[in-house]
Symmetry: D2
Subunit: 283 residues, 4 copies
Amino acid sequence: MKSFDKTFGVLGGDKRNYYLAKALKDDGYKVRLWGFDKLGTMDCEIASALDSDIIILPVIPFSDDENVVSPYSNSNLNLKEYEDALKDKIIFTGIKDKFLSAFPDMENRVSSYSDREEFAVKNAVPTAEGAIEQALMHSDITINGSKVLVCGYGRIGKVLSEMLRGMGADVTVSARKQSDLAWIKLNGFAGIKTGDFTEINSYNFIFNTIPSLILREDVLRELSKDTLIIDLASLPGGVDFACAEKCGIKAIHALSLPGKIAPKSAGEIIESTILNILKEDDG
Amino acid sequence: MKSFDKTFGVLGGDKRNYYLAKALKDDGYKVRLWGFDKLGTMDCEIASALDSDIIILPVIPFSDDENVVSPYSNSNLNLKEYEDALKDKIIFTGIKDKFLSAFPDMENRVSSYSDREEFAVKNAVPTAEGAIEQALMHSDITINGSKVLVCGYGRIGKVLSEMLRGMGADVTVSARKQSDLAWIKLNGFAGIKTGDFTEINSYNFIFNTIPSLILREDVLRELSKDTLIIDLASLPGGVDFACAEKCGIKAIHALSLPGKIAPKSAGEIIESTILNILKEDDG
Amino acid sequence: MKSFDKTFGVLGGDKRNYYLAKALKDDGYKVRLWGFDKLGTMDCEIASALDSDIIILPVIPFSDDENVVSPYSNSNLNLKEYEDALKDKIIFTGIKDKFLSAFPDMENRVSSYSDREEFAVKNAVPTAEGAIEQALMHSDITINGSKVLVCGYGRIGKVLSEMLRGMGADVTVSARKQSDLAWIKLNGFAGIKTGDFTEINSYNFIFNTIPSLILREDVLRELSKDTLIIDLASLPGGVDFACAEKCGIKAIHALSLPGKIAPKSAGEIIESTILNILKEDDG
Amino acid sequence: MKSFDKTFGVLGGDKRNYYLAKALKDDGYKVRLWGFDKLGTMDCEIASALDSDIIILPVIPFSDDENVVSPYSNSNLNLKEYEDALKDKIIFTGIKDKFLSAFPDMENRVSSYSDREEFAVKNAVPTAEGAIEQALMHSDITINGSKVLVCGYGRIGKVLSEMLRGMGADVTVSARKQSDLAWIKLNGFAGIKTGDFTEINSYNFIFNTIPSLILREDVLRELSKDTLIIDLASLPGGVDFACAEKCGIKAIHALSLPGKIAPKSAGEIIESTILNILKEDDG
């Protein structure tokens, strides 16, 4: 079966799912969208949406009360009530574990798009742009000409340090591995070992991308009061926020940026990842 | 007399003047600041501020009611009442004409820092960053991967197109002169002649920097509804805003960005320009 | 008369003129080329070449013995013998003065393409690439990771410093004017005042673009013996070459790079400049 | 034992080993160098060189006649004769296998610096610069403004595509993996799937970095005659060179570039890799 003939049922989620549905439609697929009646658009009955070959759930599929996360709908949807309808479907969601804890026997029907390397790579872009927006909004200085430290040279660190340099910042990147430090240097950045923070008081902005406690009390105490910290690491983050507040240092924990800063791009990233997975399964 | 021994009296203005005063102080100068009592800081009596060798007024020195522009003060200052005190001072302001219409006989005492080439060049940076912040805030897509048109390759056009490219946009720049088009091309941008807008419906963002009516009805009608226009040209701007609204196209007139996005950097730009002028007068 | 209907007679010159003729032909013009019989191609009789509406001479039109510069021809061409044939032609050459000293009464018939701003801008590209080739050939180190000084921020300085940074060099640019220093800084380079060369011994490469004696004995004596100097300024250049040799410092005077490194691009630059001039004259 | 106290014996090799010895010396280590008597410098007796704690051999340690590769020496060195002296040493070489086929029982004494990730990363730089030098030397056009295809987005592909873009080329990169294609796109390049070469005739330069036959007859037949191919893949390379010649397409197999273009940088890369290995063994 060519995936082009399949019908997609998109259930709930934030604006990313709305734009994902729109992108599928623009690419010629049949799409049934449920969960956006507040936007007054493109919506259909839940039964009709479920009567599709492929079901797409939100990044985090279920809220605490076990309903499908659907902030743009006035109705609730408890998928348990439709368990039979799911049985023969191909299902996509962001966090597979959350789905499986509700439907433990569907392991072989459900795929996570957020497990895919290209999804994570592409999502680094809206995350980095969201970080830049935060920096622009919460400081009184320009990024151009400022001294910036980016902690970590993974996907987000790589994209963010290039963008900051592209705006004219003087960028230092921290990493642990020798090969990462080699990349950092040959890409034209100053490189320091994560943890060995010398002259840490000279930075105007510090962006953390490492999901462990990097900016601890001993580091925070060395900082200039004017430094702005933007932490991009998922909860609990890489900053001792309580200590930062005591020290009078502004520290922002910026989470879930793609859906906030660029839901259309983020939705299209989900779409292209799902289409890639389907293509490979067909191939 | 070495300018280092001079006393600066900074009167009113927005946060740029506050940071300008701070920068002068940090550089070792004696500074008397009036007009920031709302911030509860560094303030002095007007008589004392006027008893300085060099008087610095806001970019636009006077409001319509002829008082010194001072949004951060609870008092009013009508400088006419202190005309005698100004007589033997060196005076700086942004817009000299506005000062001279109040004090027409002081032509040879007053200098405009905003007339200086390096001031205009440096101010292009906070303007461009403010434009990027607007683009990030008002769109649902990332700049990276988007198609962008920058109209005009003057100071702001140059800085902005580099920054947008640095974030990963696909940037086209428009200009009129053959030599500008040569620069645009060799700097790696696509170049088109201003006015000869082909495929104008393919752009996600259009930034205008040209102070004349560039985005007229005939152009606006060609645009995609998803295009976001950010006009950086001073009043009345380069966009037919009424027509844009009728066409359902989002168009933002973003003015006075340096003072809004980066008052500290903008204040330091004023400071370094004034110090350059004083140095040259000494030299 | 539309220039598209005109015939071009291209006389002599180096490979730039050969490629210029080829480019005109590829663009649909009628072209008669003289002076490339050594390459065994596209050549015609001088009388036939002169029987064209527009005559294009080499950048430097005449050699010392007053013949047309034609290194790729086995014949000589003394244009004096064909003076009558030139009388009603439109004539292009690089250096107009050299043409006028032979034909002083043709002031209003002859145009210099090398006087045009866009010609100079575009030629900065092959000059910069030639400078980079020299640096790669004459040093034992990579440009990436090296410390580079570019003296002068005119056309060549601008293009060259961007390219060197693009290869990963740590670039400092020198200039005199405050507005140039502002551009240098906001474009992300370190800036120093030309002449105030501090820490000059830290550079691996120095590129000079300023046509006056910048690298004098006092500067050269401060340099590291490993520094490679590449002087791009036209004769006599900006380096005290005798002193450099005495100091054991390698200094290369790299001249006329566009014709050497990229004659095809350089010929196409001449072509587009001539076509621009003709278009404007028509318009 | 701190490695700082150790003595290094550097045996033979090309200029990289010469500069490696020099770098060790400049960093404060005791160094004994053998094999550079043709350069008339720094040389010592073989016995003395072998009487060191750490022995460093060339990248490819032995020539076909089993002598140490030593192009800058007038003598031969058959290390077999000194087997006993090697017994208690730490030994470094580039290609470990070549060493072990001569001394099979020394597995635990010998390390390969070229197996290290940071070595490979850093060597991508001189390789990329060598590729650019080849492109500049063997074409009549500028890189700026040209259309370039880089096949492969491994270490060399990444560095090379950035440098080419930095010089102003319009760069397309080919890769196979979706995540690599995501990186290519978000880094601002056009991306195509390796093998699916559409519009392949539009490229001025093609750089291959993939060690398998990518540019086969069917691809070569599509190319413009003006395309310059530079193959960086190790023997046998990724180009059907016989077919390229038949098609009249210039194809250059550029091998071992680091030692040729930048022996000093390449030697320093070896030095820092060896010091990193020693530090980790100590740590």
